[in-house]
């Protein structure tokens, strides 16, 4: 029988002070990053147009810029996907994206007739649609958080429910800032990834909480802090095993899944790492803190 981790007995709850420092710093950095740099919104949320083309023969960004200059689109952002002959062109002007898209395609077809571009994808979103999408997305994320909190409250207790919601905010905020830091675009699939993190992070919390609930009967009379510590240790090998599995699968998607899925996988990787961390250092820590400040009446 192979065992990577044998009966760990780590004093997680004694280290929670470090956890606060770490989480606190991360949150402050995340907020600063969001304020200073702001998220890079994809066309889904900002409105505008995106045209993604692939050329047969090597082509330079400058050639494309010259071509677009002829239709008065010198400002359009042109991104060359590294290691390929593919370009993603985005409009700066948010108005009338459909027209921008058509004009860009037409102009490229005309100027590169000896090296005709293959249209890989095109997205145009009117600002009013993107405003609706943004609103719906915010609702969706908040609703998911709320439902998770209620579920945990209902299955365990109020304190765990509340702590879970706080930790989910923590995970999402840090993940978003990682996206900002790496200049990744905020798109609908990325939001899908964020909501998956919500589910996953809670999953981790539940496994630990479930152990705590079980141990409550076994270790009657012990302080909550010890109870929680034991439970974290007992589920520790599972946490590490599952975590590394899922992360490995995600790395496969990240490196092999192609550009469409890379941002999605990146979001999940970051979220998963922090989600696993926060189950112990945010959720359990908050519950312990709560108990020490306001002990529940013993039945």
């Amino acid at each position: 029988m192979i065992e990577l981790i044998k009966n760990p007995n780590l004093n997680f709850m004694d280290w929670r002070k470090y956890g606060y420092i770490f989480s606190g710093t991360m949150i402050v950095l995340a907020v600063l990053l969001l304020i200073i740099r702001g998220p890079r919104l994809g066309v889904d949320f900002s409105g505008g147009a995106l045209v993604w083309v692939k050329f047969e023969k090597p082509t330079e960004t400058s050639d494309i810029r010259i071509s677009l200059g002829k239709i008065g689109q010198v400002q359009a952002s042109i991104q060359k996907l590294s290691g390929t002959n593919e370009f993603v062109i985005r409009s700066v002007e948010k108005k009338d994206p459909a027209k921008f898209g058509e004009e860009v395609i037409e102009q490229l077809m005309r100027d590169f007739s000896d090296n005709p571009p293959d249209l890989r994808a095109k997205e145009t979103v009117e600002p009013k649609i993107s405003a609706e999408l943004t609103r719906d997305t915010i609702y969706a994320v908040l609703l998911a958080l709320l439902l998770m909190g209620i579920y945990v409250w209902f299955r365990f207790d109020f304190r765990f429910g509340a702590a879970s919601v706080i930790s989910l905010f923590h995970d999402i905020l840090i993940t978003i800032s990682a996206l900002v830091l790496t200049s990744r675009e905020f798109t609908i699939p990325v939001v899908g990834a964020l909501l998956t993190i919500v589910g996953y992070s809670i999953n981790d919390t539940i496994v630990i909480s479930d152990r705590i609930r079980e141990n409550k009967k076994k270790l009657r009379g012990r302080p909550l802090r010890e109870l929680i510590n034991t439970s974290i240790n007992e589920t520790f090998s599972r946490t590490i095993l599952t975590g590394s599995f899922v992360i490995f699968t995600l790395f496969c998607l990240f490196f092999l899944g192609g550009p469409v899925i890379a941002d999605f996988a990146f979001t999940l990787i970051v979220g998963l790492i922090f989600g696993t961390y926060s189950s112990t250092f945010v959720v359990c820590a908050i519950v312990v803190e709560w108990e020490e400040k306001f002990p529940k009446k013993k039945k």
Binding site: I129, L147, G192, T196, N203, F245, T249
Partner: protein, 508 residues
């Protein structure tokens, strides 16, 4: 240990269901060449690929009611009906046309030529037959316009109106495209000042190349249409067989009018011999032939230099009728077929590498029990894809990621169970008790965590569109098959073998 026979029976049934629903997908995507009818039968039962994997376009159209009277949702319903007919005739495999809010229509067309599809959907196709003013009247009015701007040479109108006019193929007048804006501004002003009588208007033809320049012909037409598109009974596209060189190799449209309209058409043509009757489509003059004789049969042609597919699409659009109001594309998401193909290949490769790693690890880490879990995992993937195909769910790129995540969750469930069994064994429980306790203790945690992820899935499904919905759906089905496979199937198999072979040492 009760009912072990029944449980093994259920496992076998699951395997059969899984393979039965999964088979069409494998057959369809691995066979190179299939007879058409077999392929169609398989397509109905195989997994359905989303637009992001197959290529295609997703459009949200909004009825533009600025210049049209009427209730937006009525206009929307009528427009939708017409678009449906157009798309049906065009022949798209499994299009989706749905209402969205009060004035929007969602159209999803898998694997179509973008430009043609856009043209087919977005075109209003308002057809009108309009009589042209005779040449003498036209030239008088052009002279009147010249007089109107005489002496008022502002920056915009430096040249006299007539100097912009060129002759196109002797019979027609036209303008150079570069002068279009000036000409349009001048005619608009002339119309406003009454120099162009209120019952007449200038309309342009399509852009064309004439003697090396980009030109547009233009015509002075009666404002009121003699007949409109409602009069059409049928429209056909046919190759041009006549002698005129400019039309050689092109296609034209033959229109057949309804009975009532045919009678009217006969009387119009009879009364206006040697005049021109312009055929105007969406305010662009397609052609303006001279009426040489009375046309009694109710037939007319639209002569243009149409390419065959252009003619075919135009005929479809004319048969289906005009849209009641212009439609604006407020959202478009198109994926080219090449990106779709690349995405599938990369997605499958990535998932495959991930799955192989997971399977190997389980086998090494948990030995024989790991093998059982691996078996359950495969069954899980097969059932997931099978159920998705059977319920006509859609596999999207995020959906492939959803399958990968499901694998992760399944493995998590098995790790939870196996770690638990190990614990029970460590404190000296017998194999059978350890298995049964391991499963029952891990069950609650597994159930709760799957339920919470399903909650996220539901939220995603409700709020998401397209690819994200595909992801949510795969995730939800995956988590249910997880509960079945990772827990029920694994346990049935473990129980069966420990019971049958009197196992004394569990390899876990």
């Amino acid at each position: 240990m009760r009912n072990i026979g029944l449980r093994v029976g259920v496992v076998i049934a699951l395997i059969i269901i899984g393979l039965y629903t999964f088979y069409p997908t494998i057959k369809l995507y691995t066979s190179k060449q299939l007879p058409k009818d077999e392929e169609n039968a398989l397509l109905k039962r195989a997994i359905h690929l989303g637009l992001d994997l197959k290529g295609g376009m997703h459009l949200v159209l909004e009825v533009d009611t600025t210049n049209v009277k009427g209730n937006p949702s009525d206009l929307r319903d009528r427009a939708m009906e017409i678009i449906k007919n157009r798309i049906d005739e065009f022949g798209v495999y499994e299009p989706m046309i749905e209402k969205q809010s009060s004035s929007r229509i969602l159209v999803q067309l898998p694997g179509v030529d973008r430009e043609r599809a856009l043209n087919l959907i977005g075109r209003i196709a308002h057809l009108e037959f309009k009589l042209a003013a005779d040449e003498q009247r036209t030239s008088t009015i052009i002279k009147d316009i010249d007089k109107l701007f005489e002496g008022k040479d502002t920056m915009a109108f430096k040249e006299p109106f007539s100097s912009y006019i060129i002759s196109v193929e002797r019979v027609d007048i036209g303008i150079d495209m570069r002068d279009e804006d000036s000409v349009k501004a001048m005619t608009a002003q002339a119309q406003a000042q009454g120099v162009i009588p209120p019952d007449l208007e200038f309309l342009f033809g399509p852009r064309e190349i004439y003697e090396g320049r980009e030109v547009k012909r233009f015509y002075l037409l009666k404002k009121e249409a003699e007949l409109t598109g409602d009069a059409i009974r049928d429209a056909k596209h046919l190759p041009y067989q006549g002698q005129e060189l400019q039309y050689t190799g092109s296609w034209y449209i033959q229109l057949e009018l309804k009975r009532e309209a045919a009678r009217k058409f006969a009387s119009i043509t009879g009364k206006n011999i040697n005049k021109r009757l312009a055929i105007v489509l969406d305010n662009i003059v397609q052609s303006a032939p001279y009426i040489r004789e009375r046309i009694p049969q109710g037939r007319a042609v639209i002569q243009g230099r149409f390419r065959p597919e252009e003619a075919r699409d135009l005929a479809i659009v004319l048969r289906a009728g005009a849209l009641p109001a212009p439609l604006k594309v407020i959202e478009e998401r198109s994926v080219g077929p090449s990106l779709g193909r690349d995405s599938i290949n990369m997605g499958i490769r990535a998932s495959f590498v991930g799955a192989v790693f997971v399977i190997l690890f389980m086998l090494i880490y948990y030995s024989l029990s790991g093998f059982v879990a691996d078996f359950a995992l495969w069954l899980n993937i097969i059932l997931l894809i099978g159920i998705l195909s059977a319920f006509r769910g859609t596999l999207t790129m995020p959906g492939i990621a959803g399958i990968a995540l499901t694998i992760g969750m399944a493995v998590d469930a098995n790790i939870l169970i196996f770690e638990r069994i190990r614990e029970e064994l460590r404190i000296g429980k017998t194999i059978r008790t350890a298995i049964s306790q391991g499963f029952s203790r891990a069950w609650l945690a597994i159930f709760d965590s799957n339920v919470t992820t399903i909650i996220s899935g539901i939220v995603l499904y409700i709020f998401g569109t397209g690819p994200i919905r595909g992801f949510a759906l795969t995730l939800m089905i995956g988590l249910i098959t997880n509960l079945i496979c990772a827990v029920f199937v694994t346990k049935a198999i473990l129980d069966y073998f420990t019971l049958k072979f009197e196992v004394t040492k569990l390899r876990i």
